[in-house]
């Protein structure tokens, strides 16, 4: 699945280069993308950085599986998922999803589907670092509860 790429690591990424890389197929007229950044509010104020941990091996396998599921649901010509891990200061890019398809509705739907998965099911964990030097693991949101059905909760 050479047109479908998954990268998990600390390295920076360049959305423009990733979008351009999927623009070469003349059958793909629609490219939807999403960039997630470290922002300075949300679960707590005064966040200076996020620290992203993941489950090496399982993360990549789960992402490959969800890309396959997206390809079964929508006719896609290519997709790229990049998720960074490690220490990421405010303003840094965390995640990129780019989806190329023949039609814009398919590209949008698959891009949002993949982002929903990344947010709620892929094995990543976020720790917030604060101005006073403290840090705290972020709790899962209630909206993630739908994911619990296939996972074990005691």
């Amino acid at each position: 699945m050479s047109n479908f790429t998954i990268r998990v690591g600390h390295a920076e990424f360049e959305p423009g280069a990733e979008i351009a890389a999927l623009s070469g197929n003349p059958a793909a007229g629609a490219i939807a993308s999403f960039v997630g950044l470290v922002r300075n509010y949300g679960d707590a104020a005064h966040v200076t950085a996020l620290e992203l941990e993941h489950y090496p091996g399982m993360t990549e396998a789960e992402l490959a599986r969800i890309v396959d599921e997206a390809r079964q649901r929508w006719p896609l010509t290519a997709a790229t998922i990049i998720h960074r891990v490690g220490y990421l200061p405010l303003g840094e890019q965390i995640v990129l999803v780019v989806v190329a398809a023949g039609h814009r509705r398919d590209a949008f739907a698959a891009c949002e589907f993949l982002m929903d998965y990344l947010k709620t099911r892929a094995p990543f964990w976020k720790k917030e670092h604060y101005q006073d030097g403290s840090s705290r693991w972020v709790d899962a949101k209630d909206s993630d509860d739908d994911a619990a059905a296939r996972w074990m909760a005691q």
């Binding site: 997630g36 992203l52 941990e53 993941h54 489950y55 091996g57 399982m58 396998a61 998720h83 965390i94 995640v95 982002m115 990344l118 947010k119 709620t120 099911r121 892929a122 094995p123 990543f124 964990w125 976020k126 720790k127 693991w137 972020v138 709790d139 899962a140 949101k141 993630d144 994911a147 619990a148 296939r150 996972w151 074990m152 909760a153 005691q154």
Partner: protein
């Protein structure tokens, strides 16, 4: 039999370790969790009562009834908060 346990995120911090090799007689995930909770302290706090966590066996999501075999990789971690 030997199990390879891995802990992530809050559980890694609370347990003070990223994983361990355990000689266990647990035939299922539920039995393994009971064995770990029996250690008391943070183990009972995190695994024994109302805290929510997830378990994966050999990198596949598992439930209480999932069977365990020698050499299995068992990961225990909080609900994910990715992206």
């Amino acid at each position: 039999m030997t199990l390879n346990l891995i802990y992530f995120a809050r559980l890694k911090d609370t347990f003070g370790r990223g994983g361990e090799t355990l000689d266990s007689g647990a035939a299922s995930v539920a039995e393994l969790l009971a064995e770990l909770a029996a250690r008391g302290g943070v183990w009972a706090d995190e695994l024994g009562s109302g805290r929510v966590f997830r378990v994966a066996v050999n990198q596949t999501m598992a439930g209480p009834d999932t069977a365990l075999a020698a050499g299995d990789e068992v990961a225990i971690f909080p609900p994910v908060t990715g992206g």
